[in-house]
Assembly symmetry: C2
């Protein structure tokens, strides 16, 4: 019986893989990897191959989505295959779909979890994880059309006093990575259309850059100021806080250099 093991690589570089994940890759007959669902900014494929002690076959979005992972599944039908993926597997729908197709073909599947931007960005922000509402992706505007979903999700969460974690779009093929400034510009443009005062120049926001690296940056400020802040290289994420507990305000001041004035907003 064949076997397909999904191994999460974590956030930033090759040494973010777990000992267990690396052992699974060493034991595998074949190792595949995909790097388009998230961006691991300091990952070096050759170094990763040095660790796994075997060649790594990088698959594309096309291989996984249009071809439905056929190459991987055909191979997994005959032996032990590892698929390395950024972050934690199954945060991307693509991986869940591939897992379902594998199980339907009688291939046993298993998982080695990795660090995910979901918990990393929540944790780095200093905000409490159980006060986050649903999260949302802010996509690049294609042909000038702005999808209103991110704005609506932030508005819904705000109404309930909840924080929103925003994942910023990645077009790995074109090496296009949305920055915090891009995201704030898109949200500001949506504000102009909707006018519900969800994102104003004086709304507090938290930018998180390069989570998982040796030099992540977490900076909280009002939108107007945050748009001018230099977060450096991608990947970036954005958090829109809801109602702040006073301990959360202290965390933003100490850990994200938020203006001390935010104490007045806290309850």
């Amino acid at each position: 019986m064949g076997e397909l093991v999904f191994v999460g690589l974590g956030l930033n570089e090759e040494s973010d893989v777990s000992l267990k994940g690396l052992r699974k890759a060493k034991e595998a007959d074949v190792v595949f990897a995909e790097f388009y669902t998230s961006f691991m900014s300091q990952l070096d494929l050759q170094k990763l191959e040095g660790l796994t002690e075997k060649p790594i076959h990088v698959v594309s979005r096309r291989d996984l989505e249009e071809e439905e992972g056929k190459g991987i599944l055909d191979r997994a039908k005959k032996g032990k295959v590892v698929l390395l993926v950024p972050g934690d597997p199954f945060m991307a729908t693509t991986h869940v779909d591939l897992r379902i197709r594998a199980e339907k073909r009688g291939i046993r599947t298993s998982i080695v979890h990795g660090a995910s931007i979901v918990s990393a960005a929540m944790g780095l922000s200093g905000l409490q994880n159980y006060k986050f509402g649903r999260s949302v992706t802010i996509p690049f505007t294609e042909g000038g059309t702005l999808g209103a979903t991110p704005y609506n999700v932030i508005a819904e969460n705000q109404m309930m006093g909840l924080h929103t974690l925003c994942f910023l779009d990645i077009q790995a093929g074109e090496k296009r990575y949305m920055t915090i400034r891009d995201a704030l510009e898109i949200l500001t443009a949506l504000e102009k259309q909707k006018q519900k005062r969800v994102i104003t120049p004086s709304t507090l926001a938290v930018g998180v850059a390069r989570a998982g690296s040796e030099k992540p940056i977490t900076k909280a400020d009002y939108v107007k100021q945050l748009m001018r802040f230099d977060f450096g290289k991608p990947p970036h994420s954005l958090v829109l806080p809801g109602r702040l507990h006073f301990m959360e305000a202290e965390a933003l001041i100490m850990l994200a250099k938020a203006p001390k004035k935010i104490r007045e907003m806290a309850t």
Copy 2:
């Protein structure tokens, strides 16, 4: 200048630590660990010490909360200290508090992320992460008093069609770990009080046991059936699905052996 590095150990056993996390522990002058904020069911302290090549000082809730981590901070003021924690650091408020106190004392802090139950349970359930509303902890009832927060959070999320991830209480000191059955009983008791038809015997729920281990169990079924299902040893988590996309229903059927009838609920 002193340094305090928070290293996430991941979910289950010593080999869930990342290569980077292990390197940080090896480089440290002193290594502390806490094991009360989550339960790593197969972690062996001696094996972990074998990996870090130095003794690990286990700290208690009392050390971190009542004593405010003074022992760790005094040591970190003078050199490089690593604190090993289950899961991903800063998902527990205790770690955020300790980080703030360290920074206030001029101790540089940094993080090595680990796999978290937040993304692991979402991923194992097969449900889409951006459709999860806020998560909630179900606490043990103390002296028969039922806090209504979990019920209310599930109800709010349901109203919006969103899924709810429930963390189940851990009393590490007494080795008491809430099971999926305990949690469903508490929610059913709350239903009797509130009568909003949030948790009925025919409500669909998903139990996740031992995420991150070699033999995790994910099982979806109606509450009445799920209460009789044997999930085995802790730790357990529980997901209450909101509105199901048809792909999510397929995922629950294939990956969590949900009754095929749930296709009728999907949109």
